[in-house]
């Protein structure tokens, strides 16, 4: 019976028959389909904004065209290269260190045999994931304030000179990478831990019987089995490699112009164009530039992965 059913499934059915048979499933998809059409596909048509001079009366679709002027204005501002570079470099660091920290802590957590310790440590590591970037910004202020911050209290107590973080742009990459890892690792490690718990335990038992050491099992069993999960996580992150984590950059840097060369990413730049200067057309042009970059990157990367190892590709 079951076998019959499965072979039946393989057969491609005509359109009308699928609808008749699965109308309920289609109905269940409807809310999400409408949602995505309204909030994702509709704005895609709004890309035309990048080639228009926005007027309140005309809205998105009936404002007059102005060719490539928005892009020219963007070029003249001369910041696009800088924010693109910043976004890319920050994200490369986030992705690479993210994988190392998340996978590393998942593997170590899995090896630890003291259940209570594991549970408490995991809860602690998860705590930063629970707070908003607003709170994270407040915490950072508490840590790095020039006169009252904990870091400076400790540094001066140890005989060092005060660190003036908010006036020292070149320190920011380290601080922001630290903050991102601090906030994200607990969550990321659970993703890998979930993948580890899903592994076939007999494989590990067999390896133990064959005399494999714990390190060998980690090196030759655990890590290779985590590669598919890692590939999904990394590919998803690569799809957003030209998108900065807006909250991270906005809530910690605030509006300090001094720090911008080291901390401004495409998202904060687009946001300032939109909100502070209400430059809708230019802001839309920058947004389109970002979306196209992202799309090309993920298409190429997924294509390469698909060529080499189809199982690891996202789609």
């Amino acid at each position: 019976m079951k076998k019959n059913k499965q072979t039946e499934i393989q057969v491609k059915q005509p359109f009308a028959k699928v609808i008749r048979r699965h109308w309920m499933l289609l109905l269940m998809l409807l809310p999400a389909v409408i949602y995505v059409l309204v909030f994702s596909y509709m704005p895609m048509t709004g890309i035309v904004m990048a080639f228009k001079r926005y007027q309140r009366s005309g809205g998105i679709y009936f404002s007059p065209w102005n060719g490539l002027n928005n892009f020219k204005a963007l070029m003249i501002q001369g910041k696009l290269g800088m924010v693109t570079r910043n976004t890319l470099l920050y994200n490369i660091a986030f992705i690479f260190l993210g994988v190392v920290f998340e996978m590393g802590s998942a593997i170590l957590l899995n090896e630890i045999i003291f259940k209570r310790f594991k549970k408490v440590a995991q809860s602690f590591m998860f705590l930063p994931y629970f707070i908003s970037w607003v709170v994270a910004g407040a915490i950072m202020y508490n840590m790095f304030n020039y006169e009252k911050g904990i870091v400076n209290t400790v540094v001066t107590a140890l005989g060092g000179g005060r660190i003036d973080l908010y006036n020292t742009p070149h320190l920011w990459p380290f601080v922001l990478i630290f903050l991102k890892l601090w906030k994200q690792t607990g969550y990321g490690s659970v993703v890998y831990l979930a993948a580890i718990t899903g592994l076939d335990q007999e494989m590990f038992e067999a390896a133990s019987i064959d005399g494999a050491s714990e390190w060998q099992k980690i090196r030759y069993l655990t890590i290779p089995s985590l590669v598919p999960t890692m590939m999904i996580m990394v590919l998803l992150a690569i799809g957003n490699i030209f998108r900065g984590d807006f909250g991270l950059f906005y809530q910690t840097v605030k509006s300090s112009a001094l720090l911008q060369p080291a901390t401004d990413v495409i998202d904060t730049y687009v946001f300032r164009l939109l909100i502070d200067s209400s430059d809708y057309g230019v802001s839309a042009a920058a947004g389109l530039y970002q979306s196209v970059l992202c799309f090309i990157t993920i298409t190429v990367c997924n294509g390469i992965v698909k060529k080499i190892q189809p199982d690891y590709s996202l789609y």
Binding site: K5, K12, V18, H22, L27, M28, P31, A32, V33, Y35, V36, Y41, P43, M44, G46, I47, G59, G104, L108, E111, I113, F117, A121, S123, M125, F126, L127, P128, F130, S132, V134, V135, A138, I139, N145, K148, I150, T153, G186, L193, A194, A195, F204, S213, E214, I232, L236, K254, V270, F271, L274, A284, G287, L288, S291, I298, T299, S313, L314, Y315
Partner: protein, 305 residues
């Protein structure tokens, strides 16, 4: 899991397992401490008197001589604004989380059904929106001009209501539930919605807990949509209220520095810290309830398949 349990039960723990454990405990402990330390410092600071902090900086530990509830008293002296922010955030979180979990699981279920031959097409239809989007401006204008989000409660619910990411998690989890459950129920004449509600959802508790936590966090911690769409201060969310407060305190501090005015009359520093504690508060308490399900609920699979 069973490997470590077996190892713990037998008193013979191999030497390298011991080594891995020592290394693991040291590294994990360091990282875990770094994760909680800032929370500890914020809480301590919120209970410390302003004069002490101006003289000595933020405290490393709570000195009972300088402990005070002043900051909390001041924060709650005018409780109207905070209570309103709590009410707005709480109701947005409750309504939004329920809707978000329902939509993610329902969509995920349909896409996990192997007999639904359009599942890959629809999966890609959803997934494509994460690969490409129109950018901030068209989305913002759509929300403001055509959906009238300005100062509307919907602006705090709708933007976070459906996440493709959560849908993928739901789909991956439900793909692990034997298809035969749906199949046999169909033979018994149950329709797909019934199967989803009365068979699949009860089997998906870890998933519901996980997605519920993610959605609740997203709503509770939302300042972005409030910043974009809400200008009426009776509708501020908690995080945006905090953001405004931190911002205005910063502004006052700069004015004071430039004019040489004394600000000691208002305990700005400890008030900020107290407000941070108040704004974070309840959501952290959610974790112990879902921790049990967490690892099981978070399976991640590819879009296809």
């Amino acid at each position: 899991m069973s490997k470590t349990a077996a190892a713990a039960e037998s008193h013979h723990v191999s030497r390298d397992l011991k080594n891995v454990n020592i290394l693991g405990i040291i590294l994990i402990s360091i990282f875990a401490l770094i994760c909680v330390l800032p929370f500890y410092l914020i809480i301590i600071a919120s209970f410390t008197s302003e004069t002490f902090m101006i003289r000595n900086g933020y405290p490393l530990w709570l000195d009972l001589k300088n402990a005070t509830l002043e900051a909390y008293k001041l924060c709650l002296k005018n409780p109207g604004a905070i209570l309103r922010a709590y009410a707005v955030t709480g109701s947005a979180t409750a309504v939004g989380t329920a809707l978000a979990v329902f939509m993610a699981t329902m969509t995920g279920y349909v896409l996990s059904r192997k007999d639904f031959q359009w599942r890959n097409g629809f999966s890609f239809f959803f997934f494509f929106t994460t690969l490409f989007n129109g950018g901030l401006v068209p989305w913002y204008l759509l929300c403001v001009r055509y959906l009238h989000f300005k100062n509307s409660f919907l602006a705090l619910i709708l933007p976070l209501m459906f996440s493709v990411w959560n849908m993928i998690i739901a789909k991956s989890f439900m793909a692990g539930i034997p298809q035969s459950i749906s199949e046999s129920a169909m033979i018994d004449g149950a329709n797909d919605m019934r199967i989803f509600l009365s068979l699949i959802l009860p089997l998906s508790k870890p998933l519901i807990a996980t997605l519920g936590l993610f959605s609740a966090l997203a709503y509770w911690n939302d300042w972005y949509n409030c910043m974009l769409f809400i200008s009426n201060d009776s509708m501020f969310t908690l995080q945006y209220y905090l953001q405004r407060m931190l911002g205005s305190a910063e502004a006052m501090r700069i004015v004071a520095e430039k004019s040489g005015m004394a600000l000691t009359s208002i305990p700005l520093e400890s008030m900020q810290m107290a407000m941070t504690v108040i704004a974070t508060g309840p959501i952290v308490l959610l974790y112990p309830f879902v921790q049990r399900y967490f690892v099981k609920g978070l399976t991640i699979g590819a879009v296809k398949g």
